[in-house]
Amino acid sequence: MTCEPDFGWTGTIGEVVLGATKADGGTRRVSYRLGGGTTLPFLEKRADIPTPLIAFEICDLPVFWSPIVKKACGDLVNNPAEWAKAAETAYGADIVRLYLTSTRQRDFSDIASIRPAVEGVLSATSLPLIIEGSNEPKIDSEVYQACGETGQGERMLLGTAEAGKYRSIAAAALAYNHSIIAQSPIDINLAKQLNILLKEIGVQRDHIVIDPYTGTLGYGFEYSYSAMERIRFSALKGDTDLAMPMICSSIDSLTIKEVREAGPADQDDMAIRWEFYTNLAAAAAGAEIVCVRHPGTIPLLRRAFADMKRQAGEVQ
């Protein structure tokens, strides 16, 4: 069978560097170039376009973390550094995404604790890092300053900027040369608007990753898919304000009814499957990074991505 999809697109997805190796002044084992695509996912002819990267999400205070994940990861959840190490060595993730959930406690003010938390994870793993900071205007400024400074030179990805909350993250990215996740609520125009706002404040395009916001499969994912598809089409048609890599995190898939109410024997499997299919769909929609919380999801995704890439190659 021959199939030569030619859409007549001329645009290219801009590249964002994640992680700095020793040669680039950091301490990471690898550095990724996200983006660079010229067509839809898994249709690329260039062999060097990677399959989507898999980020494993951890946190520094697991109170609100899914009990299913806590069970699967055991005691590790109480030690972010060891957890991060496991993400690299045992789970086989490409990226570690650290949520500083401690900063989301009521009246959090222990800014001094952020540096050791980030440092701990940085030294425990040699994978590139995504850091998710606070979510409270009163402390955002100090928190992101601390995150940015601690990871200086490591080319991290800082999250998550939104239309009403981007200045501190942008400032940290600018001051310490990190990139930033720009999230909009499943809306192509708001995604573009936020990118323009970031540009106005001085963040370059090659430092922005779009988070279109991911609904769970069957719980709104079709909206995410449609928004992502349109973002990607616009980018490939030449809209440079949208020509950035995308990141998807299917965090809601662990709390949906099917997973929550599954019997004890099935629950783990059910969690993995929902996370897997949501992320697979996100990858098909064009995500350059997908994020998981259950370690069991990683090998499934890995195999699926490899198969899809190989089949795409065979078609040509």
Partner: protein, 676 residues
């Protein structure tokens, strides 16, 4: 008095003779930017006399560059000054400062130099700078003066003592240069970008006290190149400095650079939030009322020149709440004066409409209608809590500043409760309303080159693009051309964008090259052409918010209009909701157009189809709503007598009835060129 102009000339001369005398090599530690100003301007790393001469020549004998080199050598020879003086500030600290600037936790940078005549006035100026979230650098005798007045210094107090003489003020400029290189993407040597960045983005001001040497005056004056205003309260004259009284100097400086302090809390004894907007105050709950036909009342928003009004000032002319009788109706004039660099007279009516929302935000205040028809009530509960008429003014002044930070620099409110004065002011207000009406009424599509888009609805109608012109409101009826213009000015990357209409392709159907180009892009390539005045050919797309739908009825060679409120069947065989479901979602459907109700009154309505004579049917309720204005419009066009020929559901419920009705009354549409 020191004459700035001659001192500067002499100072520049002195600096020029000193540059060749640099012998020692020098460098600051902890910076990747060498001598930052010289490096940013020329890309040359200056470390000795030879490179200093080179850069000095390259920059056209710039006094800032000269000062930077001379001070660097001096620091290398005699070492850094002891604490509290910071001298050259290293890159790590600059990163933090730059962070706070981008982050918005500091609004701008100030340099204060010289010898203040009184400790108190220096302290007052610096306190005001602190209060306005400015990061202030100090150089010279002002530092001991502040310490003497008990002012605490240091980074944590946002007051940084650079050095013992005003000459150390040069470090202020090297900070600006490094912020530009770190945060502004300015590459060393790109003079043009640096100057542009400094002028537009670096919010910096300089305040100069007396006692500067000629060289120091040359240095400070040289900072104007970077777009930094130089202000002085005393001791100098001439040049292009700004002279202002000590208690006004900070405000002048901030205004000069467009630095705005955001108001966050409104100091009134009642809650203020959109949450209270829908709550009405019934007669039993009311303490006093104003207007509503019971007493004379009006509201007016007027533009003033910056400097003419005092921001936040609220004046009540006439009796306050405590001398008003409970349950009474009283006269009221609400006069709001606003000023801002980007404010325009055209915006007055649009801003004036916001008085309605803002007064309703108050937990115990209520407002309906507009202009000289307003009706305002204050609740018993609010008055018991201590709310006075004055507080309505405070609420308005604060809300206008909060909601229009880009537009307004100052808002002053006057509330008049004295009957004679209300009547006099109301007369003047009515004259202004008339003027405004004439201006907007007179505005034609042909008079402007720019239309505005609205893509607010793309959230659910992905490819919909509204094109708003002076004679065609957005199809939802809520956004006029002026609103679009203002929305764009206030939020330049928002949903309302300017459209250069470009060459006219078809004057009759209202098709323009620029509009087509814009619509194609904004519809993500889906819509190629858009005619603004036609229902039949390339009509505008429809989201879902249209107030009414205009659609063709080929059987009778005419166009009918049905509004959202009308629930019944129409002669097209479809109800409004069926029609809406068919044409909405961002599609372009020839023969159907979503419109605002008022568009029916526009000269451009159905222009592409031969004019309003095509209009054959409207629901009775819509006819009633538009009657007076539509009859006037028809008269203007020489179409008197057309109005009763337009059918409604009472005269024609089906297409057959309609045909019979139109034939009976002799409707002109029947004789027009075939629609399809």
């Amino acid at each position: 008095m020191t004459d700035v102009e001659s001192a500067k000339k002499h100072g520049e001369e002195l600096l020029r003779t000193k540059i060749p005398q640099i012998r020692q090599s020098f460098s600051y530690e902890d910076t990747a930017y060498h001598l930052p100003i010289s490096y940013a301007l020329t890309g040359v790393a200056v470390h000795d006399g030879k490179t200093a001469m080179e850069v000095f020549g390259k920059t056209g004998n710039n006094p800032i560059v000269a000062s930077e080199c001379i001070l660097a050598e001096q620091t290398a020879i005699s070492g850094r000054e002891p604490a509290p003086y910071t001298g050259f500030i290293d890159d790590t600290v600059i990163r933090k400062l730059g962070y706070s600037l981008v982050d918005g936790s500091i609004l701008g940078l100030a340099l204060v130099v010289g010898t203040p005549r009184s400790e108190g006035s220096a302290a007052a100026i610096c306190r005001e700078l602190q209060e306005k979230y400015m990061l202030t650098f100090l150089a010279g005798p002002v530092i001991p003066a502040l310490s003497g007045a008990g002012v605490k210094l240091g980074l944590e107090y946002r007051l940084i003592p650079l050095g013992s003489t005003p000459f150390y003020g040069i470090h202020f400029v090297d900070i600006v240069a490094r912020v530009a290189m770190t945060f502004g993407g300015v590459t060393p040597g790109d003079t043009h970008r640096l100057l542009a960045y400094a002028a537009e983005r670096a919010k910096a001001i300089v305040i100069v006290f007396p006692g500067l040497s000629d060289e120091e005056i040359a240095l400070v004056d040289g900072m104007r190149v970077l777009g930094i205003p130089i202000l002085s309260p005393e001791g100098y004259e001439g040049g292009t400095w700004i002279y202002a009284a000590p208690d006004d100097i900070v405000r002048r400086g901030l205004e000069e650079k467009g630095i705005r302090v955001n108001v966050t809390a409104i100091p009134i004894p009642m809650g203020c939030s959109p949450a209270f907007e829908g709550k009405s105050i019934r007669k039993e709950e009311m303490y006093v009322e104003f207007g509503g036909g019971r007493s004379p009342a009006f509201e007016l928003l007027k533009m003033r020149q910056p400097g003419e009004i005092e921001d936040g000032k609220v004046t009540v002319i006439g009796p306050e709440i405590d001398s008003l009788k409970e349950g009474s109706a009283n006269p009221l004039g609400i006069v709001i004066e606003v000023a801002g660099r980007t404010m325009k007279k055209d915006y007055e009516p649009v801003l004036e409409r916001r008085i309605h929302n803002f007064v309703n935000y108050g937990e115990g205040s209520w407002h309906v209608a507009q202009r000289d028809l307003i009706w305002v009530r204050l609740s018993k509960e609010a008055v018991a809590k201590g709310v006075k008429i004055e507080h309505i003014g405070k609420l308005l002044a604060s809300k206008f500043r909060m909601d229009f930070p880009q537009l307004l620099d100052a808002v002053a409110v006057t509330l008049i409760t004295d009957e004679a004065k209300v009547l006099a002011a109301k007369k003047e207000a009515e004259r202004i309303y008339d003027e405004r009406d004439a201006r907007i009424r007179g505005m034609k599509d042909a008079d402007v080159e720019t239309y505005y888009s609205c893509t607010l609805c793309q959230t659910f109608a992905p490819n919909h693009v509204c094109v708003i012109t002076p004679e065609r409101l957005a199809l939802c009826g809520a956004i006029s051309w002026l609103d679009g213009k203002i929305a764009y000015e206030m939020s330049p990357s928002g949903a309302n964008q300017p459209i250069e209409k470009g060459t006219c392709i078809n004057a009759l159907t209202g098709e323009f090259e620029g509009v087509n180009k814009f619509v194609k892009k904004a519809s993500h390539g889906e819509i190629e052409r858009c005619s603004l005045y036609s229902v039949m050919e390339y009509p505008m797309t429809c989201c879902g918010c249209f107030e009414a739908i205009a659609l063709m009825l080929p059987e009778v060679n005419g166009i009918m209009v049905v509004n959202r409120e009308y629930k019944g069947m129409t002669p097209s065989g479809m109800t409004f909701s069926t029609l809406a479901g068919t044409i909405g979602g961002g599609a372009q459907t020839p023969g159907f157009a979503g419109i605002s109700k008022n568009f029916v009154l526009s000269d451009r309505f159905l222009q592409g189809e031969g004019g309003i004579e095509r209009l054959v049917w409207m629901p009775a309720v819509l006819k009633e709503e538009l009657k007076v204005r539509l009859e006037a419009k028809l008269k203007e066009q020489g179409l008197e007598g057309l109005f009763p020929k337009i059918a409604d559901e009472t005269t024609a419920a089906t297409i057959e009835d309609l045909m019979a009705f139109l034939e009976r009354v002799g409707h002109p549409a029947l004789g027009m060129k075939p629609l399809v």
